[in-house]
Symmetry: C2
Subunit: 363 residues, 2 copies
């Protein structure tokens, strides 16, 4: 474990920096901890949907969903105070969820100087308008053109509340420029927050988006076992593991299709899949579907929970179907995501296609 | 799900076959279920260490460690009755653990006709006497030379008690000859037991051996969290997931070093790692080490539990150290298994080397 202290870490970056976080959801807010612990100025700024959160943070010094106070000195801003929050900023952290991507594009991108490095926590892929999928940094880069912004992103297995608790956590910062990534890492790393860097934005971002889709596959098997053995039965693992291995295989093939053959990106996604099966909100929907509940009923039961996984399954399944129609891919190579598409797009019952997973492979 | 019935499955293989299982541990015994359910003659035969198990099976129709009776008609043999148990056999299943590998080589190999296909459940890698590692089928092939035996093996995420419970399970049969593998699959597959086949014996066997080593890495993080939050704290996943992703990366590199670049073999090993973290016996030792207990004390606490993982960690760590000394590998590429080697060979305290996991990777 590193023995770096708060003071020396800030010193190592030359001087304390000013970090403006826009979006006070759990993950954006969690990043205030390592940044402030390293001695930086941290300005947590709400989106128009975050007014109550910011009010609460100001009143209590604690995020309403966390069980631990923010480090002393974190500053809180409403969106109307954005100009003040961004004055002199050295880094902007985008903390919006995938449902805030277009708000960020419309409202924030024009306000971000070309010189200001951006680090986004938003995970997902989005249609590129040309039959393919792009990462959010790439989507924003296109929206911001001809201005050239310095867009980076963070991926990897990290639940916000465990980061806040200082659990050992490994993530990857990805972006075009290695020097910028190294600087961001120096600003954010802590003895418990370990940061790899990668210039493979598409690989890392695709991997961590795909895990939201494949987590459903694994969690459906949990529900299917509960259907057989009862909801309070001890957990069973053969079927989870079978779906997990298949998920790795399909994620690897999809990454290659999307232009990445980077082992580190796949490993980041596999770690992220693991944490999402256990710590993510997708687990609930997957279990309900696996127990035999139709999609509509399951979504109704989960009312109020935002499910980014549904969006990504739909986008990937649609693109794969289109590519299959064009002869570019064979859907039989992707039986699990193809089935998840049937469940989430076509309302078919969840029934893992086990026999489609078994292959003949040669040395 | 397949609608195949017992009768038609047996018929599909031409005629019911005779399956002799040698070794009545949990996994060997579990395979009696799919074989017998498919209408085959099944002869479960104990090793010299299994006398009481066979006595119990005969008296009760149930394995002492299972909570479900064997299917009607399974036959039980003591090792002294081996000749009778093997008379007319169409397939021999080797159900010994890795601690029985040499007994199997000495006692069984000379008694196995060259025409009899063998399927082994034994997982592991063993020194080849030349500074490298080989799979058990390869080890036995060398021990049996110049006779040529038909040695195959099964790998993948499968706990015996869940197979017995008919949980959905995906495994891989590997061997040299695709036709033999297909026939074995036809004999053993069930609507819940899904069998891939692969001619990459070294890839599949290495992957499923390596998972016994890497499961310690993941489980140490569980113990480390318990050390911080208390034994009864809710589970934490960031650090498990960080170690899981690193395990995938190192397993992939090791498979390539050992001569396999087969995605399916890696996926089999990743599924197997997942099930081992949750369902395996290695979990206990990993947790104790992670809580800060020295190796000797942890092993004492687990007295009586056989830990195949310790053997494989030791073998891999030793080979990697030797290869590193020869300049063939850079140990910094394998920080997790290198640390596990320090813990299990050198009695160093378990302290996951997180900072060694973060890399700079490029598109």
């Amino acid at each position: 474990m590193s023995t770096t202290t708060t003071a020396t870490t800030a010193a190592a970056t030359g001087k304390p920096s000013i970090i403006t976080i826009v979006g006070s959801g759990m993950m954006g807010s969690a990043l205030a901890f390592p940044a402030r612990e390293n001695g930086h100025t941290v300005r947590l700024t709400g989106t128009p949907l975050d007014r109550e959160i910011i009010d609460t943070c100001r009143a209590t010094g604690r995020h309403p969903k966390f069980t631990k106070d923010f480090p002393a000195g974190v500053e809180y801003y409403q969106i109307d105070e954005l100009e003040k929050a961004m004055a002199g900023a050295d880094m902007l952290i985008c903390g919006v969820s995938s449902f805030g991507v277009d708000w960020f594009a419309e409202y924030m991108l024009p306000r971000i100087p070309e010189s200001l490095p951006v680090l986004s926590v938003t995970k997902g892929l989005i249609e590129d308008g040309d039959g393919g999928l792009v990462s959010y940094p790439e989507y924003w880069a296109r929206r911001a053109a001809p201005r050239k912004l310095r867009l980076n992103a963070v991926g990897g297995p990290c639940t916000s509340y465990e980061l806040v608790a200082c659990d050992q956590t490994v993530v990857t910062f990805c972006g075009d420029d290695l020097e910028t990534l190294r600087w961001m890492k120096s600003v954010m790393q802590r003895p418990y927050y370990h940061i790899a860097v990668s210039t493979d934005i598409m690989g890392v971002e695709s991997a961590v988006a795909l895990k939201n889709a494949y987590a459903y596959g694994v969690c459906i098997t949990i529900g299917a076992c509960e259907r057989v053995y009862g909801k309070d039965s001890p957990p069973h693992y053969n079927s989870q593991a079978g779906a997990f291995g298949q998920s790795m295989l399909e994620m690897q093939k999809l990454l290659r299709l999307l232009g990445s053959n980077n082992d580190e990106a796949l490993a980041t996604g596999i770690g992220d899949l693991y944490v999402t099966v256990f710590g993510g909100r997708n687990r609930l929907l997957g279990k309900l579907l696996g127990r035999g509940m139709p999609l509509d009923a399951a979504l109704k039961e989960l009312e109020g929970i935002t499910l980014e996984g549904n969006v990504i399954v739909g986008r990937i399944a649609k693109v794969l179907r289109a590519w299959a129609a064009q002869g570019r891919v064979d859907l039989r190579e992707f039986p699990l995501i193809a089935h998840l598409g049937e469940v989430l797009l076509d309302n078919k019952p969840a029934e893992i296609p086990w026999d489609a997973f078994v292959t003949e492979s040669r040395r």
